[in-house]
Symmetry: C2
Subunit: 165 residues, 2 copies
């Protein structure tokens, strides 16, 4: 049964059958899939300081966005990087994907590492995106995670995939 | 406006006011907050191979669970570790928290590192939890993230917080 259908999110309640045969009614949230991109420029990377209404807070995040209808993850990555940071990337390397909360949603975020950046003329944030681009030394990222400055899950996962630890 | 209210999840649609004054109608998903725990035993740690109906797949995850009413994160961590792995921890160290997807939900997962493990008599999985405990060498975790064996966001974040990189 459909509970809600919005532009980028639909929610259903349905009977699920577990591998052990048990049947339960469960709610599943289906957001659009998304991408997150870590733009790297030498020893530094670009993050966003972004206002998130769901938590009424500004947080540090990697550039990210949802896939439009018909878009492949790589296309979304190029588009969102330009829209959110004003930089285009010559190299966009796929770094796998994560499930954000597989307990109740099938949302997948595809991860990308962007390099060879240059300013783009197509810069254009959506009016409801409250974003500031910040330049951060890669050597500072681990400390920023440990001290709670970076608390966004996809961003921390990107660090793991881009820096191999 | 409330769209749905379940036992562990409620969903609302409401007008939000951004810091730039723009008002928009948005859906916000409010799951219960949760904890995730990495139980460490010397050079190895315990993960779960767990069936997740939202993605119809078995995935590797750190033990985790939602906070019951009135429960503090530390209590949930001790309880869930026992329920899901059959091991109790003498030491349970707080490792901060993450937001799973701050784009549309305020869900927070508190992270813990568990040590000094011993078998517990209180072992008891919920009937709808399809779980197998697996022992993994800590030195294998990075490769398991990179090759896509571990795709669960909270689990990857835990590695970052527990192993400092």
């Amino acid at each position: 049964m459909e509970i809600f259908r919005g532009r980028r999110l639909w929610i259903e309640s349905r009977m699920i059958r577990l591998p052990n045969g048990i049947e339960k009614k469960r709610v599943i949230v289906h957001p659009s899939n998304a991408v997150a991109i870590l733009p790297i420029d030498g020893e530094r990377c670009k993050l966003l300081k972004q206002y998130r209404y769901a938590i009424d807070q500004y947080i540090y995040e990697a550039p990210a966005g949802t896939m439009e209808m018909g878009e492949a993850p790589l296309q979304t990555a190029h588009r969102e990087l330009i829209e959110e940071t004003g930089f285009a990337a010559q190299k966009m390397q796929e770094k796998g994907f994560i499930y954000t909360t597989p307990g109740y949603t099938d949302e997948k975020i595809f991860l990308f590492e962007a390099r060879d950046l240059s300013p783009s003329r197509e810069y254009g944030k959506d009016e409801d995106e409250i974003i500031e681009v910040v330049d951060v030394a890669i050597s500072d990222l681990s400390a920023m995670v440990r001290d709670g400055t970076i608390i966004d899950a996809k961003t921390i996962c990107l660090f793991h995939h881009c820096f191999g630890c």
